[in-house]
Symmetry: D2
Subunit: 151 residues, 4 copies
């Protein structure tokens, strides 16, 4: 990833501000744990209010955290006046999302002027300490400038 | 879609039971509006607690409703003792999810013995009545039998 | 699709010129059959030189035709000086691509200034006349201007 | 990937036999370079007969090699009497496929009894030696037994 552009120096503050405005992250109980240039980690716990019919975290909720991780990973490499929009993503569900804890990582594999691509991995920490990959995402993000969108 | 298999006669009741156990649907304020063989419609409203940083419904939340619509559309055509699991999905975001109302439709394009494929469309009803396509999904679902999963 | 932009009057000629320069279309034996605003149809036949290990058309070859159909469908709605680039696509394989004839359709579901989204369907015409949907695509396309790319 | 199942001892021979029957690989000029348990590498060169309108390798051709790499990576971990079928894949195009040489790698991230998931990376070796990631794939594969399909 040596060709990734340098990040704007103020990216961490902008990222934390934007994350704090994602109300859905509070609903998920999700917390921003790592905010590096090109890489973001979100952590969250299993919550009964977010489950599907078998008691696992709903695939869409795992995707919500993955999309924020991927989108913000791309955001760290964007200009200071840019907002990030998700164009599309694809998710593979590899294991039932039992939890109890989840670590969701997004990292940039291409940072373009207009289009960026990030990959996400959702790991669950099972009781006893085993870590399992429960979902993957590939997301395509767009750098948006001059449309009146805040970060 | 003439080659779709006949649905088990009790599919509507099983679908309603299963939907009622998806706790996340209550969190979203989502309601099952149509449950036909091979086609399911879910309706929901914009909620501040489910938004991203610009005030739109988070793409992952739209995906949550789309995944349930697609998964349950496939479920309507499965045997009476089967559970449905999502293997993967892909979502394109076409317009900011402003709402205020959303109609999310899932319909089966292939119902196989093991693998089914469904497509989803998320429409938003804007103030004044215009209806806009705000997201699409293609989902791959698996028929699961004999693994101790309830519907 | 009432909100699709009007096509540049010369789009058919530009499309035919561009298609003729896609050397891979000759290798596939693919022919441009329909070139309407927002919709393109390509036809081709099963060829032994394009098969996978079971004698079916390789999924990547079906994807090649689908990508051209989707890309060119988007291209029909772009400005006269624009080139089209595929950002990403997703393909579901629904039935073995036996042929002997294939009709591959791409149609635009969103035509944006920078980003367009098209859906593709690959139908096969089996001996006896039955038509089967053998693959679907969702593709994200980009309008490229001022980078020195011809159509 | 410590949880991947042990490969059947004869997997390399089966893989080479199957690859040799993929006629499209000859059309592409593609060669099987690495065949390890859970990981396959294919190499190929840019060919004018496989290009799109700007002279780059067509995205569908890159996808053809990626799909074979991903599918065969999954195949290495399947039982001796199994065939592999691609259910779906998603491709992101990161850079124009100029070549002149391509190294396409597929590796398994989940090997299930019925469903496996593999990721692919297409690298191009530019003149002067730089290596660029030009495309990625996530593919979902199915283990097929008892349907009369050879490898």
């Amino acid at each position: 990833m040596s060709q990734l552009p340098p990040a704007d120096p103020g990216f961490r503050q902008r990222l934390h501000d934007s994350f704090a405005r994602q109300a859905v992250m509070q609903t998920l109980g999700a917390r921003l744990e790592v905010a590096d240039a090109g890489r973001v980690v979100i952590v969250m716990a299993h919550k009964p209010a977010l489950t599907q019919q078998h008691g696992f975290l709903h695939a869409g909720i795992v995707s919500t955290a993955l999309d924020s991780a991927c989108g913000y990973a791309a955001f760290t490499l964007m200009p200071a006046d840019a907002a990030v929009l998700t164009i599309e993503f694809k998710v593979n569900l590899l294991a039932p999302a039992r939890g109890p804890l989840f670590r969701i990582e997004g990292f940039v594999i291409k940072a373009g002027r207009t289009i960026s691509v990030a990959e996400g991995k959702a790991w669950q920490h099972e009781v006893g300490g085993a870590e399992t990959l429960c979902a993957t995402m590939t997301a395509t993000l767009m750098t948006v400038q001059g449309r009146g969108l805040t970060h």
